[in-house]
C-alpha cells in the first residue's frame, strides 16, 4: 500500500479480484430478486396444479427452445470474447461481443412475437378474456408476464453493458491487461442466461 500519495487527486485503487467479488455479490442479489418470484411460482403451482398445467399448453415450446439456444450460444460467445481479449486479439473480441448482442436481439424479437401473439389472443393482464379464466390461469399468466418481462429487462440491461464495453474498448480503457469490466459484464450475461435456464422449463416444458 503506497503511503505518501495524498494529492488533491483522489487515489485510484485498482483491484480486479475485488471488482469481481463485488460483481458476484451483486449477482447474489439478482438471484434472490428472482428467488422471490420463484417462491411465488412454487406456491401458486402447488395450489393450482391443474390450471397451471392447462395454461402452460398455451405457450409455444418451439419459440422457447430457439430462445434457449440463442441465449446459451450468446453466453459462449461472451466467454470467448474474454479469452480473445486476454490473448490481445481486440478485433475478434469486439466481433464476439457484437455476436452476443445479436443473439440478444434474436431473443427479444422472438419475445416480441410471442407476447404479441398472446396479447392478440386476449391474454394480457386485466383483459376480459383472461379474467374469465379460472384463478390459477390468471396467476399463471400474471407470473408469466412478470417473470419473463423482468428477465427481458435484464437482457436489455446486459446489452447496454456490452455497448458500454465496446465504447471503452474503443477508448482503450479495456485492453489485454485490464479487462475486468468485460469479465463482469460477461458474468452478468451468464446470470441472465442462467435465470432463463430455469424459466424455460418452469413455463414451457412442465405440463
Amino acid at each position: 500500500m503506497s503511503a505518501t500519495d495524498h494529492a488533491a487527486v483522489h487515489h485510484v485503487h485498482r483491484d480486479d479480484y475485488g471488482s469481481r467479488m463485488g460483481m458476484w455479490l451483486f449477482l447474489f442479489t439478482e438471484l434472490i430478486l428472482f428467488g422471490g418470484l420463484f417462491i411465488i411460482y412454487a406456491v401458486y403451482r402447488f395450489v393450482h396444479q391443474q390450471e397451471f398445467h392447462l395454461a402452460a399448453q398455451e405457450l409455444n415450446t418451439t419459440i422457447g427452445l430457439i430462445n434457449t439456444i440463442a441465449l446459451l450460444t450468446s453466453s459462449m460467445t461472451a466467454a470467448m470474447s474474454i479469452t480473445a481479449m486476454q490473448k490481445g486479439n481486440v478485433r475478434f473480441s469486439k466481433a464476439l461481443i457484437w455476436v452476443t448482442i445479436g443473439f440478444a436481439f434474436v431473443f427479444m424479437v422472438n419475445k416480441y412475437f410471442e407476447w404479441g401473439a398472446k396479447i392478440s389472443h386476449g391474454i394480457y393482464p386485466g383483459s376480459k378474456d383472461l379474467l374469465a379464466k379460472p384463478e390459477g390461469e390468471i396467476l399463471y399468466f400474471g407470473l408469466y408476464y412478470v417473470m419473463t418481462g423482468l428477465h427481458t429487462l435484464h437482457v436489455i440491461i446486459g446489452v447496454i453493458f456490452f455497448l458500454f464495453i465496446l465504447r471503452q474498448i474503443k477508448q482503450g480503457k479495456i485492453a489485454s491487461d485490464r479487462y475486468v469490466r468485460l469479465e463482469n459484464s460477461a458474468l452478468y450475461w451468464h446470470l441472465v442466461d442462467l435465470i432463463w435456464i430455469f424459466l424455460f422449463p418452469l413455463f414451457y416444458l412442465i405440463h
Partner: protein
Amino acid sequence: MVTGALPNEKVEPSYLEVSTNKYKKGLLSWILSVDHKRIGVLYLYSMMAFFSVAVVFGFLIRLELIAPGKTIVEAQTYNQLFTLHGIIMIFLFIIPGLPAVFGNFFLPIMIGAKDVIFPRLNLMSWYMFVFGGLFAVVSMLLPGGSADTGWMFYVPYSVRTTTNVLPALIAAFILGFSSILTGLNFITTIHRMRHPDMSWFKMPLFVWSLYATAWIQVLATPIIGITLALVAIERTLGVGIFDPALGGDPVLYQHLFWIYSHPAVYIMILPAMGLVSEIIPVFTRRSIFGYKFIAFSSLAIAFFGSLVWAHHMFTAGMSDAAMFVFSFITFVLSIPSAIKVFNWISTMYKGSIQADPPFLYTLSFIFQFAIGGFTGLMLGALSVNIHLQDTSFVVAHFHYVMFGGTGFGIFAAMHYWMPKMFGRMYNLKVATWAWGIVTFGYNMLYMPLFVMGYLGMPRRYYDYLPEFQPYHVVSTVGSWILIVGLIIMFGNLWIGMRRGPKAPMNPWGGETLEWKVQTPPILENFHTVPDVHAGPYDYSKYEAKKETTK
C-alpha cells in the same frame, strides 16, 4: 505510537478543506465528492433532515391520541401520519443511520484503508438515498394524499386505496437498492482493503457488526425489492399476484414482506451493538470481554435472524407446526443478543468508568434494549402473542428496540465521533443534561404503551375507550419532554460543531485506528498506517499508568 494531539503547527488541511474534484469549494465539491468521509457527512445531513420531519409526524400522532375522538386531525390524516412516520424513520433514518453515516466515515479508517473499494458506487448509493427520499416527499405532496397503508404496505388494501401508494413503493424500492449497494461495498471493502497486518480477529467490533449487517443488506433486501415491485405492478397493470380477487394470496405477501423486514431489524440493531462494543472499552479503560463471542454472535444474529420472519404473522393463519418452529427459533435468537449484553456488562466490571455523554447513551441503550429484547420474547411466545398481537404493546416493544436501542446508538455515535469528524467539541455538561431529559422523556413516552397494550389498547387506532386516556396523556407528555431533550441535544451538537473549542486528536482515549489519525482526518486518512498488532482494545497500559488524554 502517538496518542496525544498533534502539535498545532503540523496540522494539515483536513478532508473538510481538500476537495477530490475540480470544484475547490462549495456544494459541488461535496455532492460530487467520492471521498468516503464527505459521503458520510452528506448522509448525516440528509438523514437528519428526514429524521426531523418524522419526529414532527410522531409528535402529531401522540398529540392526536391525547384524548379520545378527534383532537387535531382527521382519521385519514392520522393514518397517513403513522404511515409516513414509519416509512421515513425506517427506510430513511434507522436503516442508513449507523452504516451509511458512521460506517462510511469510519469503516475505512478503522481497517487502515484510504477509502472504500468502490468510491463512485458509494456516491451513487447516496444519490439513490436522496432520490428515494424525494419520492417519499413527492408521495406527500401529490394530489390524492400520501399513502395510508402503514409502512408494511399490506395487500389487498395497498392495491385498492386511492392514495399515493405508488411513489411510496418506488421510494422504498430505490432506498432498498441504495442499501444493497452500501452493503456490497462494505463486504468487498472489508475483504480486500484491510491493512495487511489486520487479521479478521484484530478488526474492531464495529467493523464486525457492519460486516454481518452488510450480508443481511445484500441477501435480504432484494426480496423486499421484488415484493414491493410486484405490488406496484399489481396496482398499475392489474396483474394478478397477491390480490385475492384475482386468485392471489395476501398471506404470501406478508411472508415475503417479513422475509426481508425481520432481518431488516437486525440491519438496524447490529451496527448499534457494534458501536456499543466500541464505546464500552474506551470509557471503562478495559479490554473488551469475549471479543470472539461478540464477533460471532453478530454473525449468529444475522443467520438466525433470517429464519424467524413468520413470528410477525402468528395470527395470520399458519400451521401449528410452522408456528412452533418459528417461535422456537425466535427464542434461540435471543441467545446471541444476551451474549452481547453479558459481555458488555462484564467488560465494565472493575473498569475505571468515565461517564461522558457517549457512555451515558450507551447505558441507556443497554437498559432499553434489554426491555425491548425481553418483551420481544413475550411476543415470540405463541400463547402470549395471541393476546398481545396488534396492541400497543407491540408498538412499545418495537420502539424500545429500534429507538431505545438503535436510535440511542446513533445518538451515542454522534457524541462519540462528531469531535473527530468535525474537529470541534460540544459542551459536555449540556450534552449530559440532554441525555437525562431524552432518556426520561423517551421512557415516559413508551412505557405506558406496554401497560395499555397489555390491557387491550389496539395499535394504530385513531379512537379509543376513555379508560385508556390516563396512559395516553402520560405518553403524550413524555413525547413533549423527549422533543425538548432532542432539541437541546441537537442544538448542543450543532453549536459545538460550528463554534466549539478545537477537539484533540483523541478526546476519549480510544485505541482503534480512527483515534490515531489527525482531527479532522486528512484526505485518504493516513500517511502511514499505525501499528495494528496490538489489536483494537488494548488497555493494558492504561491500567498500568494512569494516563490522561484530555
